[in-house]
Symmetry: C2
Amino acid sequence: MQILEVAISLFAKQGFSGTTTKRIAEAAGVSEATVFKHFATKVELYHAILDLKACEGGMKTLPWEDPKIQDAIERSDDFEVFFTLAKVALENQQEDIDFMKLLFHSAFEKHELADMFFAGFVSQIYEFMGSYIRRRQKEGAMRSVDPKLAMRAFMGMLIHHSMNNILWDQGRRILDISNEEAADEFASILLNGIKR
Amino acid sequence: MQILEVAISLFAKQGFSGTTTKRIAEAAGVSEATVFKHFATKVELYHAILDLKACEGGMKTLPWEDPKIQDAIERSDDFEVFFTLAKVALENQQEDIDFMKLLFHSAFEKHELADMFFAGFVSQIYEFMGSYIRRRQKEGAMRSVDPKLAMRAFMGMLIHHSMNNILWDQGRRILDISNEEAADEFASILLNGIKR
DNA sequence: GTCTATAAATAGATAGAC
DNA sequence: GTCTATCTATTTATAGAC
């Protein structure tokens, strides 16, 4: 629906309280009354967005559903595992910049989207990749390091890089690099960093 | 001043448009009129905060002013350089959580604080540490990797870790680790990751 | 389903007394 | 320096016609 689309983009740009129903209506090309016919309150509209994005958007691409990663895990091809994870993550994040922004706003404003995202997606990645690292440690391929901390370091590289691209880099040309190159380098740094 | 203090904390929690002058006045224990006597407009109050925090807070601790880091750089003690940088950054960030939050809000809302911070602090770190990495590459101690990308990876670990601590971890006990341990591990990962 | 018109509440900001 | 009272514009939300 047109209203939802423009609302997503406006909430992403300016947060919840920074976005007026008037601007949403204008951007959607309808009257404010029409907005309130579809969504009884502004909060209800916001919730509709969260529901939509939480299901359709950020959460569906669980890394272990990617056949490339599953295959690489079976073969214990560390580089392929982390490189592919990084590439998929960077591409998803850049594809849905609005969702990323919404997510950060939610985290700051303590909306429940942040909690849902944390419980449903972030913590699963920590669990899943953490157990892979633990296995490779037992096999002697990786040195002794807290798998959760290693994953935090890796996720930090990915998320921070995306955030920089989203918030700063466009137009500023600080670091002009493809997702493929970035994924390659981040995976190399982490794996050399934690290998035995 | 009491008004500034509570305004910082409220703007950090809810952003600029999410914070009303009424709530600021209440929290400061004065009337709204008093707020407007001190700061002609809400925007002016916000600017006063930015000026204050930009000078007193986040910007003053330039890493190359730390004697420990200067010394370590002269001795080419890579671990000491990056470990100390990480420790100082993590401690500063945790000390001034409100400033961090304000900074992120600013970045999203496209206020000028974000630009100031970027131009005055972030880009200097990239320059400074980038040139250190370049020197160590020439000396054969580090492999060929874009110094800016390496720094982005490292800053990503630090900022992401802080963000997680600030936004999620308190109470959730996902990753209970001291700044010292985290700094140690992040420096190890980066340096092993990019060494020759 | 959508609009015009309008209500009700809240926002930022000012006047003027103490 | 601070307060009470008030103003104006904006914001969320509703009523009712088409």
